[in-house]
Amino acid sequence: MKIIKTIIQIAVLYGIYFLGESIQSLLQIPIPGSIIGLLLLFTALAFHIVPVEWIEDGARLILTYLPLFFIPATVGVINYPDFLSWTGLLLVIIVIISTLATMAAAGWVSQFFQLRQSRKEAK
């Protein structure tokens, strides 16, 4: 019974994903349907419009295999052999440095404001 329940819950997640995709094509915005679906589901859960029990098991199962679902897309890199050139290599290095800088900025700034907030609460 648990298996059937989990499959239905994954179908529900699919439904929300398609809803997000429909909203995206209707409004013609560059925000992907999956992100719209995520925000919709989060709002629905937070306001108890959708009880968490309806998606809990399905969400846990599908998230366990999250990295697997990226692979077909990442394998697509074979269509771009141009990156095996000097310019390609240079661009990749720039992306790596910029990504590290982004991690540092987002991490430091959020940590700084979190510590400041905790100190205020302590007073």
Partner: protein, 226 residues
């Protein structure tokens, strides 16, 4: 038949690589990276076009959308933390987005690469489905944007853990913000290794970056007359 074989091959390689990773626990061996390398090399060696691979691959790929939607679940579990730290979250996401947009642009300008490449690089920190239309809108090359987005994702996965330790980011909030802002959904998949809280924060960072980025990215290009 070929499609089923490709599905089985992808899952098989992923399962094996996951076992290897569990044994070695070296960030260079993260399953999504090693599996991609093995599958991509196999396709190249046997001269199988990507389109043929995708007759099977698309079935696995079709789970990505609902899986991203499912990230709402860990976010819901951490909703109290998210509301409590709304200010640090917003500040972190905005600084991350600003840094991602400006540093890529500056470095590219510094070494003097072509304008089209610079524009293609701008949305790299955003999740692939955002990066493609944004790069198209601002005059970049969408198919190349996919590769940059992937490099940004793998950088977070492979270098993230050591790098964050080196620069003194220890908490779940800071780690999640860093991985989600810089490395989108791939970074979020890595954040799960550290637990529900960093994963939720990473999901929040990824979603907000996607929403803000789709607006700020084109605006940034327009403002700076790139």
């Amino acid at each position: 038949m070929f499609a089923i074989f490709m599905i089985a091959f992808t899952i098989g390689v992923f399962v094996l690589m996951s076992r290897l990773y569990a044994r070695l626990y070296n960030p260079l061996f993260v399953p999504v990276l090693t599996s991609t390398i093995i599958i991509a090399s196999t396709l190249v060696i046997f001269q199988i076009p990507y389109e043929s691979y995708m007759t099977g691959g698309k079935w696995i790929d079709s789970f990505l959308g609902p899986a991203v939607v499912a990230l709402a679940y860990p976010m819901y579990r951490q909703r109290k933390e998210i509301t409590k730290y709304m200010l640090p979250i917003m500040m972190g996401v905005l600084s991350g987005l600003f840094t991602a947009l400006t540093t890529g642009f500056w470095f590219a300008k510094l070494v003097g690469v072509d304008r089209t490449f610079i524009l293609t690089m701008v949305p790299k920190s955003l999740t692939t489905p955002v990066a493609i239309p944004v790069s198209a809108e601002i005059g970049g090359i969408p198919s190349m944007a996919i590769v940059f987005t992937m490099v940004a994702g793998f950088t977070g996965i492979v270098a993230g853990p050591l790098f964050l330790r080196l620069i003194g980011i220890k908490g779940a909030l800071g780690m999640g913000m860093a991985l989600g802002s810089a490395s989108h959904a791939l970074g979020t998949s890595k954040a799960f290794e550290y637990g529900q809280e960093p994963a939720s924060m990473s999901s929040v960072a990824m979603s907000l970056s996607a929403v803000f980025g789709s607006v700020i990215g084109p605006l940034f290009v327009w403002l700076f007359h790139i």
